[in-house]
């Protein structure tokens, strides 16, 4: 199988500091891959390696089946990127900044600049100098530059940084539509777990330079699933009373993921009361990504 993005034993050392260690990423075409990590975990270093901005100390990087580097060579006409906070020439207008990208990408059609400004809702600021833009619009400019050439692969570092809540929703929907309708592969790093949780098909968790876990769609679904958590004075008896359901034993509690229980917890309460073991605690909980992430990175 060929992947849109692939790293093989990717390591990067700065002197004695190990920024990345044996990272093996596999991002399928058309997939939205969330790359999670704490600050300093190695997310941006990995992204810079994917874009040929830094040379791996060991291992290699392939994007669209082409080995990146040496000398920064890669399939860049098919790759859009946003690395860390966006940057722009402050004394040039927003339009001129995008025009620069258009020219350097060798795109003949000048209309792409207007199209991408419309798509990112920044057309009304086209003639404003980039240095005077708000941080939110500056971020949109960075995203516009990444999307300008309709890339097959988008590599985005914290794409919703600096955006207001409405902007976050807008960009999230844009990214989802790019992946679902155009088949664009999206590799995005973030430390905002809820954002990644809502967007990603798959998640990689990086910690201290190592990819410590990859969560596939099924596991993510599991983490996103709700469950009814029950406490009673006699768990064994409760288990028997709830034999119609698949009961999971937790530490001093039991849980049921069945939708009949999650949607109607009063039914479970009634069963337990009738069995003479009324619940002392009954709550719908979600083992969310945040808890999972924190447990892993402790």
């Amino acid at each position: 199988m060929t992947y849109a993005i692939e790293t093989n034993n990717l390591s990067k050392f700065y002197g004695d500091v190990r920024a990345l260690h044996n990272v093996n990423l596999r991002v399928k075409r058309g997939e939205i891959y969330g790359f999670l990590g704490l600050n300093g975990a190695g997310k941006t270093t990995a992204i810079r390696a994917l874009l040929g901005m830094i040379r791996p100390s060991e291992g290699n990087v392939k994007v669209l089946n082409q080995v990146i580097g040496p000398h920064g060579s890669g399939p860049w006409a098919q790759v859009g990127h946003l690395v860390e906070s966006p940057a722009a020439y402050p004394d040039l207008s927003l339009r001129e900044n995008l025009e620069i990208s258009r020219r350097l990408h060798g795109i003949k059609n000048p209309k792409v600049v207007d199209d991408v400004m419309d798509k990112l809702s920044i057309a009304s600021y086209a003639d404003r100098k980039a240095g005077t833009l708000s941080s939110g619009n500056f971020q949109r400019l960075g995203l516009a530059r990444a999307l300008l050439h309709k890339p097959e692969v988008l590599i985005l570092d914290e794409p919703t940084n600096a955006l207001d809540p409405a902007g976050i929703v807008e960009i999230r929907e844009l990214l989802i539509s790019l992946a679902r309708e155009n088949g664009t592969t999206i590799f995005m790093s973030s430390h905002i777990l809820s954002e990644v949780d809502l967007l990603a098909d798959r998640i990689g968790i990086i910690h201290k330079g190592e990819l410590i876990e990859e969560l596939d769609a099924a596991r993510l679904e599991e983490l996103r699933a709700r469950q009814l958590v029950i406490c009673t004075r006699d768990l064994e008896k409760a288990n028997k009373a709830l034999s119609d359901f698949e009961v999971i034993s937790l530490d001093g509690r039991i849980a049921i993921k069945d939708s009949r229980a999650v949607e109607a917890p009063e039914t479970i309460a009634t069963i337990l009361v009738n069995a003479g073991i009324p619940p002392t605690h009954l709550a719908i909980e979600q083992e969310n990504l945040e808890e999972h992430f924190l447990r892993l990175t402790k």
Binding site: E96, R103, L104
Partner: protein, 262 residues
């Protein structure tokens, strides 16, 4: 080639939108204006005596008030000022990508890094040559206003070749400034370099080794320490060429290979 034209367009746009060309042109225009002032002082000894120190300085620099002396003054100003001014332009062209953090937008593109660096060198060279030509034109206008004696077409031609020769010998040495602005990721390291190099260039001329020191050669070509033929040999041109090649190669190597981790 198409990408190269695009890169040239991009670098030209950045230059046009910047205030640096205006400021450098105004700054460099001070040279012919100052030269004109010295000529006025020299033409009028009464006023020269009344002005004290400035009058003495003017005599030290140019001696007599005629076109030949005035063009010599301009050549010396371009030799000393050009090294500083072209370094400022080069520092800005390369250093701004790091101070504005835009360098990361230039690395993963279908237009190669080599083309971008070449476009930068071409634009800063054209810019520097145009400013030098402007100074020469302003010099002619100022000299005409001051009504200097000794004008001839031949003198004009020789002086133009002299000044442009200084410019063309100075520009390739800017590759080191570009390298330091890139390696130092900003403006400060190249400014430190300029100060060091001016000091060493002066020292080498004082010690009589200026013809072997690349950064002293443009000044010697301009006649700052005497007739060019007595001070420079073929080895001087070979040295400046070799040093420039090293500077360009190092700059290209850095852009191709250095980790851009910031």
């Amino acid at each position: 080639m198409k990408n190269f034209a695009s890169a040239l367009w991009v670098e030209t746009l950045k230059m046009r939108r910047s205030k640096v060309p205006l400021f450098t042109a105004i700054g460099f225009s001070m040279a012919p204006l100052a030269g004109g002032l010295f000529m006025v002082i020299l033409k009028n000894p009464e006023a020269a005596r009344a002005m004290g120190l400035i009058s003495t300085k003017a005599q030290l620099l140019v001696g007599v008030a005629d076109w030949n002396a005035y063009f010599n003054f301009l050549a010396q100003a371009v030799a000393a000022g050009g090294m500083v001014l072209f370094s400022i332009i080069t520092t800005w062209v390369f250093g701004r990508e790091f101070s504005d953090r835009t360098v990361k937008e230039l690395l993963a593109l279908p237009t190669s890094r080599e083309i971008i660096v070449a476009a930068k060198f071409i634009v800063l060279s054209v810019w520097s040559i145009l400013i030098s030509a402007l100074i020469f034109a302003v010099g002619i206008a100022v000299g005409t206003l001051v009504v200097l004696p000794g004008w001839s077409g031949e003198l004009l031609g020789v002086s133009f070749v002299n000044i442009m020769g200084i410019v063309l010998l100075t520009l390739p040495l800017m590759s080191f400034v570009a390298l330091l602005a890139s390696m130092g990721r900003g403006y400060l390291p190249p400014f430190g370099w300029i100060i060091l190099i001016l000091f060493l260039a002066n020292l080498s001329v004082i010690l009589g080794w200026g013809d072997w020191f690349p950064w002293a050669i443009p000044g010697l070509f301009g006649g700052v320490a005497g007739p060019r033929a007595e001070l420079l040999g073929l080895h001087s041109y070979i040295i400046i060429f070799a040093a420039s090649i090293i500077g360009f190669a190092a700059t290209y190597y850095w852009w191709r290979n250095a980790d851009q981790a910031r």
